[in-house]
Subunit: 300 residues, 2 copies
């Protein structure tokens, strides 16, 4: 799991928290850890504590690829609007992340399932270059990189199997407004699966053969949307890694597992609900998701 | 099927048509006719032609409840923005619709399944008053009536079993921003099923026991969104009337049938694609919808 580790200040219409553990790699690794051990590639500063490390290692997350650099850990602040959809970045202190030049430990070279979390595409490429041909590469990106380094993003996509983007990113990548058309267009770029996250509406999966649509969990209250997409990608890839094969049905189930993780993630502040979650709770909600879309065959 | 019959001028970013048959009752009755005969309650002017009548009667739609009044048929014009989501009403000539005071023929009194299409709630109530206790009343409404005659809308809802609304209307009725919360709130108003249409995202059904979510059809091109919601309500009710019972599974299938009809409706201009549709095409797309959400059980 490549991505950022950050210390976040988050403000929602109802709550506020400062200095909580966050970052795309944190959410992805914790969500993925429900399906088996995983390896982290990221960077922190000297202020990162042993307790924070233990949060990861206690869940089977390998930190050999977590670099500690002189200086401070990445910090980020965000404030959500009343609708929880619009977010304003209140500050970004890249700190050690500014000079991140990942050097993977030898033990990571054989990684078969890889999540390239939302970071600089140049960094994503450096990670790929250090792997011995992974089987499945899942890529997340962001409007910022699509605006500033489109060529490099395209290079990453050309080496990926699965892309996970939101609607805005899908439109930017494809140049089409229609989401179904964007998905098909991205598939034509050589991807095996295109997954479009649609927030409160769920997610769409397109493979060569089929469409798949899943709803989001009908949450009556949301506490903190931060990390929902990273949790989605982490659980999705964790599930795929455990199952081992990129079949259409495994991808469908992976999208549902991603949605389950995202729904729990937003029910708590920061990582708290993922960290307190049991495997049984995840299984129960997975079963609920399947019930939400089940239509028994009738004579039609 | 209660609703308007209108002559529409429609302009999309790519096409334009004038003087085409439309109105909520037209779309609902034609979409419903795939599941069996139905009865129309509406009003037209003396300019309404025999050919236009035959479009309905040839599909088994009973026009005994279609009043012809001195004057002109209701006319409406709409222009869609580039995204097809935003619509501007270019003109509204109520004409004979302004004085519509429905008088149902005796043969309609025993109607068991009723769609109260989007019209003045006072008119919806008058229709209910002339029926001998229908089994299932499906209600559609609109922000305009919620703003201007909320008390009457509430009266209609209190006598209905199923409500079909879009997200904005759901929020107005419930006073909540969250769509899941709005659905539960409306259910508490005494409805058996709440159906929220979410445009390109599909539809949500809430019954006392369960949630159900279905996607929209992944259309690569949309031609004319007019009448999508009315087609949805018409097919939904047509299917329920044919099946006869308001079970959870019948409601789920009805929502999918409604989504199928809406998807065909928006692929053509005005009523054209619904009028040219075969039953087999509807069945095939229904089967596709079920495939789009099918997750085979795994060991989890």
């Amino acid at each position: 799991m490549l991505g950022s580790i950050g210390i976040d200040d988050i403000e929602t219409p109802f709550e506020k928290a400062e200095g909580i553990l966050g970052g795309s790699a944190s959410y992805a690794a914790v969500a993925g850890s429900f399906f088996g051990p995983n390896r982290m590639v990221s960077i922190v500063g000297e202020d990162f504590t042993d307790d924070q490390r233990r949060l990861f290692t206690s869940r089977g997350i390998d930190l050999d690829g977590l670099e500690t650099a002189p200086g401070k850990t990445f910090r980020w602040g965000g404030r959500y609007a009343m609708n929880f959809d619009d977010r304003e970045t209140t500050f970004t202190d890249l700190n050690v992340l500014a000079e991140f030049d990942p050097k993977l430990p030898a033990s990571y070279r054989d990684s078969r399932f890889v999540v390239l979390g939302n970071t600089d595409p140049a960094v994503q490429l450096k990670v790929l270059d250090q792997l011995d041909g992974p089987e499945v590469v899942v890529v997340d990106t962001m409007n910022f990189w699509l605006d500033s380094q489109r060529d490099l993003v395209d290079e990453v996509l050309a080496r990926a199997n699965v892309v996970v983007v939101n609607e805005e990113e899908a439109r930017m990548i494809s140049g089409h407004h229609s989401i179904p058309r964007s998905a098909l267009e991205m598939l034509d770029m050589g991807l095996e699966a295109v997954i479009i996250k649609r927030g409160a509406y769920g997610a769409t999966l397109r493979t060569a053969g089929e469409w798949f649509f899943t709803s989001a969990y009908p949450l009556l209250e949301m506490r903190d949307p931060t990390g929902a997409g990273d949790s989605f990608a982490g659980a999705l890839t964790g599930y795929l890694a455990r199952e081992g094969e990129l079949t259409d049905q495994n991808l469908r189930r992976a999208v549902v597992h991603g949605s389950v993780a995202a729904s729990f993630s937003v029910e708590g502040f920061g990582l708290e609900s993922l960290l307190n979650l049991t495997e049984q709770q995840m299984k129960d909600r997975y079963a609920e998701f399947l019930r939400f879309s089940r239509v028994e065959l009738d004579i039609d």
